[in-house]
């Protein structure tokens, strides 16, 4: 089975846990590197391997306070990869968690949902 990927959070990078065995897929925190490519490449690489043999149901959780434009593109890239899970007849879902009074993160979730081709749940937390 694919080895777990865990990245610890820093001032401008989030906590990442990608764990196929425990069926846990989470990105939590804030993401604002000047160049999103560098940070996301290992994550995308892991996902590209994972989607070849995905679990029956993959729930990918985003719980973000903030991210910049270069990251927005990378998040979309990640979602586009996740969409491919549906091609092998397995289920996939994005869960976009945001704090209830955080309109900015809600709006961003809505926008990503509107351009995604997979189940996408906006989950407000109080």
């Amino acid at each position: 089975m694919l080895k777990k990927l865990k990245l610890t959070a820093t001032d401008d990078l989030p906590l990442v846990i990608l764990d196929a065995k425990n069926n846990m897929f989470r990105i939590t925190g804030r993401i604002l590197p000047e160049d999103g490519n560098v940070f996301f490449e290992p994550i995308l690489e892991w996902i590209r391997t994972y989607i070849k043999e995905p679990n029956d149901l993959t729930e990918f959780h985003f719980n973000l306070d903030y991210y910049n434009s270069s990251t927005a593109r990378m998040i979309t890239k990640l979602i586009v990869e996740l969409e491919k899970i549906q091609e092998v007849n397995k289920d996939v879902k994005v869960i976009w968690e945001y704090e209830e009074d955080d309109e900015v993160m809600l709006e961003r979730g809505e926008e990503l949902k509107s351009i995604s081709y997979l189940p996408f749940e906006l989950r407000g937390k109080s």
């Binding site: 604002l32 903030y66 434009s69 979309t76 009074d101 955080d102 900015v104």
Partner: protein, 362 residues
């Protein structure tokens, strides 16, 4: 705020290695932001002064009497206090400007003149006397804060009062701290008149804060972190958006700014008027990049919000078209978040680079 005012600010602060100013209500979050910012931006040659500068900044802050209870950023008013710290050459300057009742001017003036005309021995004596004799202090003997500032800097405390009406004046004070190790012969000190000019400009443009310094990747990170920390207690949409604007704009400077001697010199300002934030930036840019950037800004300025949204979403999924005349995600995002155009100006300075100024309203 206009591109013209950014230009003027930049020219006044041209020789500053770092300059940070804040005008508004004061609290501990602002203080720690300012001290961290300065600590992080002090050149290696001045490393030994770090603690002293922090100490003097705190003293100066405490000198600004009105401390706000909340840590929410408030709009500056005509009565707002002003704080500035700057480094030019071998000297650091810590400046405060706050309102004072005209009836108290003579007392403060007397205190300052006393410490400014005392020698080291007299200062030590004065310090002891004030410590042990509260009465003298109340009657107008020098305050402990002033004595400490003079003892720490081994210099004078330039000050001035500018009358604004029959009741109140603005009290300007500057602490000068020179690094003896790097001081060059004949290096002159910046005067308090320049502070008065800067203060006037800041008030005219409703500036909440500005930062002039180096905008390389390494320097921008901590700046953003501090501003965010200072805003983090708030969930207000406008403040989150202000932060987002700053991230995009500052990262843009650090990516595309013209590098001179390993530095990407830049200036950014935040103003607040009638609840509306405005962000302005100024930085050098290579002449070869000017035409494309102009095209990109014009492109987003000419698109409707719907078209900007569509373009943004298209780029999210498909990536940016590799045509240098087309704007990137960051710029499109700025344009769609503001109801007004992005204002900009390029001023060619020589055959290598130009000065690029930009203002955008939230």
């Amino acid at each position: 705020m206009t591109t013209n005012s950014i230009n003027t600010f930049f020219k006044i602060l041209e020789n500053d290695n770092i300059c940070f100013a804040y005008r508004g209500s004061f609290n501990n979050a602002i203080l720690s932001m300012a001290t961290e910012l300065v600590k992080n931006n002090i050149g290696e040659e001045h490393a030994k002064l770090k603690n002293k500068i922090s100490f003097l900044m705190i003293e100066s802050f405490q000198n600004i009497a009105k401390y706000a209870d909340s840590d929410v950023l408030e709009e500056p008013t005509d009565e707002s206090d002003f704080f500035m710290v700057r480094n030019i050459g071998s000297s650091f300057y810590i400046v405060s400007a706050n309102l004072i009742e005209n009836s108290k001017i003579d007392i403060v003036r007397e205190k300052l003149e006393k410490v400014n005309t005392s020698d080291k021995k007299e200062l030590n004596q004065l310090y002891k006397t004030v410590l042990t004799n509260k009465q003298l202090n109340e009657k107008g003997g020098a305050g402990l804060g002033f004595i400490e500032m003079v003892r720490k800097t081994k210099g004078k405390l330039p000050f001035d009062f500018v009358k604004i009406n029959d009741e109140k004046s603005i009290f300007f004070m500057q602490i000068n701290l020179t690094n003896p190790k790097t001081e060059k012969e004949g290096e002159s000190l910046a005067g308090i008149d320049e502070v008065k000019l800067i203060h006037k400009m800041v008030a005219q443009d409703n500036i909440l804060m500005y930062h002039r310094g180096n905008f390389t990747k390494e320097a921008v990170g901590p700046v953003l972190k501090m501003i965010e920390d200072n805003m983090s207690s708030m969930k207000f949409k406008a403040q989150k958006k202000a932060f987002h604007f700053l991230v995009e704009i500052l990262q843009n400077i650090s990516k595309h700014g013209y590098e001179i001697e390993d530095k990407r010199e830049g200036l950014f300002l935040i103003s607040m008027k009638n609840g509306q934030f405005e962000i302005g930036t100024g930085n050098y840019i290579a002449n070869s990049k000017v035409e494309n950037l102009k095209k990109q800004i014009e492109q987003v300025n000419n698109l409707s919000n719907d078209n900007l949204n569509n373009l943004y979403r298209k780029y999210l999924r498909e990536g940016r078209v590799t045509d240098s005349g087309s704007a990137g995600l960051g710029l499109i995002d700025l344009a769609r978040e503001t109801d007004e155009n992005i204002n900009y100006e390029f001023e060619q300075l020589n055959d290598k680079y130009s000065f690029f100024s930009l203002t955008v309203k939230l």
